[in-house]
Each structure stands twice: as structure tokens, then as C-alpha cells.
Symmetry: C2
DNA sequence: CCAAAAGTGTTACAATTACACCCATGA
DNA sequence: TCATGGGTGTAATTGTAACACTTTTGG
């Protein structure tokens, strides 16, 4: 079992043979919030193994590209957006997970303001899918989605990342709907407002909604960054 | 910017050129608990760039090896242990992080019962370091350690993973010392006991400590698995 | 004036914190 | 008998959960 010494990459200068290398990709679960519903952005695969199955947006990480940057690149290319919330979640690397050979993928989720997303191309039926309708997906993407969605549910309570799904100005009701969509449960309006306002993370813009056929809500802005992980 | 279509690995059958491949490693932050202190297992690097700096235990992931399995392999080879708590934390892949070229590493932390660890070889001064003494490390290993330690601090409260550091039978005081060592703060004894016992995750073994020069504590066993992620 | 959603406080309950004395053992 | 850590309960505080009516707007 244990030999006298281990030669490895942390302790010794070692040649990394080509056969030891793997392809590295990033896959992004891009969440958007459409009035009342959480959605993710998907395209169809053309691979014979997964013909017509839905897949996440991803790409190979380029030589000398930081994986985080690669994920931002995918987002920018697909949504036109630059300043979005992005968080690395988990790396999936089971052998056989990809028909093209050994492809290890780093999964990210990101939160975008869906109104700002201009889908510049609808190639491969790129479009938004309600989270509640997600069934089978290509590769292990269903598992990746599940992991990312769980992470989002934790993060919205712990770190209040939900603001990433909203425009800069929003009413408390919109914010509540975001929390409800992510958590999949309804929340008490008074308790929600109390809690959020007590956190002192919102700035009252002294403005109200317009063109709503009911009493307009006050508008707020999220103070500071959602967390340190912006690009 | 956005082209009409993107050819990528999720949608098209693509040749993965060799230059797109990277070396993939795993690095393990192996935590042990030595009476009153949290420690991690480190060795010294021989690489000229990091001569005599401390490094985590890691290795290249083998062709067709599941990264999780690779992490278990590293643990088994270095500690002789098989059934340990292991959790993937984050993947670090900044270009330039490793002098051998493009090496992307998946970081794990693991929790072992330090009494069971027989360091079969002391090559490269393999030994336990108090967490509080950790300073500089080779590569980006200091950052990896910080990330894993933070994760552990969250996990011990959320998922009570701390049991992984203890032998099967332990007293409540030992358990409390584990929590205190991980969190870096002292806890109230009565409140701690109340909380842990209320969770109904401990089995009273109807045994007591022996050979202690004070009133012996009752021994308990952790019911069920720490979480689903055992090997 | 009707429909729709905004705004607002109080009370009950649960969880957390703070805190001090006696007990069992080995030396 | 002394030193050491084990074992135990209660009261105060804080946080969470439940709950209903009035207001403002557009149609």
C-alpha cells in the first residue's frame, strides 16, 4: 500500500504526460425571474447520444483561461450581460459523463435580470424554461441543475443573493416573489418586510411604481454588493 | 460578439484538441483533532519554486478515475484510512497557479480520527500541523486551506460533520471540544449538551470513561451517518 | 365603486443565552 | 481531601410565526 515516498505534483517536478490530461469545461445554470416564476436558460443538444435533450450553457475552458472567466464568457456570449452574479458550485468529473471522452466540468449558477437578457440568437432553441418543468436533461445536467438549485435555495436565505434576479429598482413585493419562487413556498408579507427592512440592506428610493392598476409600491435599491463575487 | 451559432461541447460533436486539455489534481485538507486542537496533515514541497514550503496532500487524477475516488485514494495512501468523511469544496484553476503548467485542482476537506492515523512514512516531513500555526504555504494552498476551513465551520453547525473527527465512542465534553476547536470559540456547556441531546442523534452507550482523574463522562455513539457522502 | 395589491402592529410561541452549584473519580 | 472536569435547571431575552384591516391606484 503506502510506499516509502510518493512522487506527486505537489512535491516533485514531474512530467505531466499527455494521457493524464483531461478536457475541462464550465456549465452554467442561468436563473432568471419572470414575474412569478423562476426560469433557466437552456439549449438543445445535437449530439447523437442526447439528440433533442436539453443542456446547460457551457463551453470548454480555454488554455490559460481562468475557469471563473470562462463562465463569465459563456454568460456574456449567451445573454449579452457582464455584471451578473456568478457562483461556482461543484465539479463533476465521473468518467463516462460525456460521450466526447474525458470531460470534467465545473458547474456554476448565475442570477440575471431577465429583462436585460437579449437572446441574440435562438440557435438550438435557446430559451427560458420554468424550473418547475425541468425533467430529463442531456449528460448529467439534471444532477448539475439539482445541485445548483439546492445551492441557490440555501444562498438566498444565508447570503440574500436573490437581488441578482431583479432590476436595480424594485418593490418589496417583487423581492418577496423572488424569495417565494426560489424557496417554492409562500411567505407572510408582514414578516418578510419586517425581516428584510431590519437587515438594513435596502435604500428607500422615495419613488413609487407607475402604471400599476392598484396601489403602487415603494421602490428600493439594494445597498452594496450581493457578495464579493462580482466580475 | 455573439455569433449566429456556438459550436460547443454540449451541442456538437467536437474534436477536443490536445492543447485544450489540462492536468487535473485533487488536494485534500485533512483535519484531525488532537485532544484540544484542530490540526491538518501537510508535507514539504521539493519543487524549487516552493522549496520547503508546506503543501496539502494531493495527486493527479488518473485517466478514467472519478475525482472523488482520487481524493479517497490520496487519503488512503497517506493515512491508511478508508471510511472517512470527505467533501468536495471548490475547484481552483487560475492559470499560473502551478509551476508544472496548467494544473486545475479540486479541493476537498476530510475529517479523520487522528488516533487511527498511522503515518506509514514520514517522507517529506509528513505530519500534523495545528491550524492556528498555519502561515504561508506552497502554490495557492493557503487559499485552499482557508476556503476549506471556512466550509468546515459552516458545515459543523449546519450538518454536524464534527463527529468525523472523533472515535466511535466519545463523551459530550470531547464533542464540545471538537466544536470549540472548529469554531474557535468557547461554548456554554449546559446549552451545548441541551442542544445536541435534543437533536436525538446520539445513542447513550450506558458506558463511562475509564482512567480519568476526575468524574468520568458518559459515552455516546453517533447515530447514523454524518451525511450521505461516505465512501 | 370595484378589484387588486400595498402597507402596517401585536401577541403567542420557540429558540437562544446567561448563569452556579453539586458530583464522581484518581492522586 | 483536593484537584479536575462531569452533570444539571431556570429565568430573561431574542427571534420567529401567526394573523386582519385600511389604503391607494386604475379601470
Amino acid at each position: 500500500m503506502a510506499e516509502a515516498t510518493f512522487k506527486n505534483i505537489n512535491t516533485h517536478a514531474i512530467e505531466i504526460d499527455s494521457y493524464l490530461r483531461v478536457a475541462l469545461s464550465v456549465d452554467c445554470v442561468i436563473f432568471g425571474f419572470d414575474e412569478h416564476e423562476l426560469k433557466i436558460l437552456l439549449i438543445r443538444s445535437d449530439l447523437t447520444e442526447f439528440k433533442n435533450k436539453w443542456t446547460l450553457l457551457g463551453d470548454l475552458v480555454r488554455p490559460d483561461e481562468d475557469p471563473d472567466k470562462a463562465a463569465y464568457r459563456v454568460l456574456r456570449d449567451r445573454t449579452g450581460l457582464k455584471n451578473v452574479y456568478l457562483e461556482q458550485v461543484h465539479t463533476f468529473g465521473k468518467p463516462g459523463r460525456h460521450p466526447a471522452g474525458r470531460v470534467v466540468t465545473i458547474a456554476y449558477y448565475s442570477l440575471v435580470n431577465i429583462e436585460k437578457v437579449k437572446l441574440t440568437t435562438l440557435a438550438h432553441e435557446l430559451h427560458w424554461h420554468p424550473v418547475k418543468d425541468i425533467r430529463q436533461m442531456a449528460f448529467d445536467h439534471r444532477q448539475i441543475f439539482d445541485t445548483c438549485f439546492q445551492q441557490l435555495q440555501t444562498a438566498v436565505l444565508d447570503r440574500h443573493v436573490g437581488f441578482g434576479l431583479l432590476p436595480p429598482k424594485f418593490s418589496l413585493s417583487k423581492l418577496q416573489r423572488v424569495y417565494e419562487a426560489i424557496l417554492g413556498e409562500t411567505l407572510d408579507r408582514r414578516n418578510f418586510r419586517k425581516k428584510i427592512l431590519a437587515m438594513d440592506i435596502l435604500e428607500d428610493l422615495e419613488e413609487i411604481e407607475t402604471n400599476v392598476s392598484h396601489r403602487p409600491g415603494k421602490l428600493y435599491r439594494f445597498k452594496g454588493r450581493i457578495n464579493q463575487k462580482f466580475c
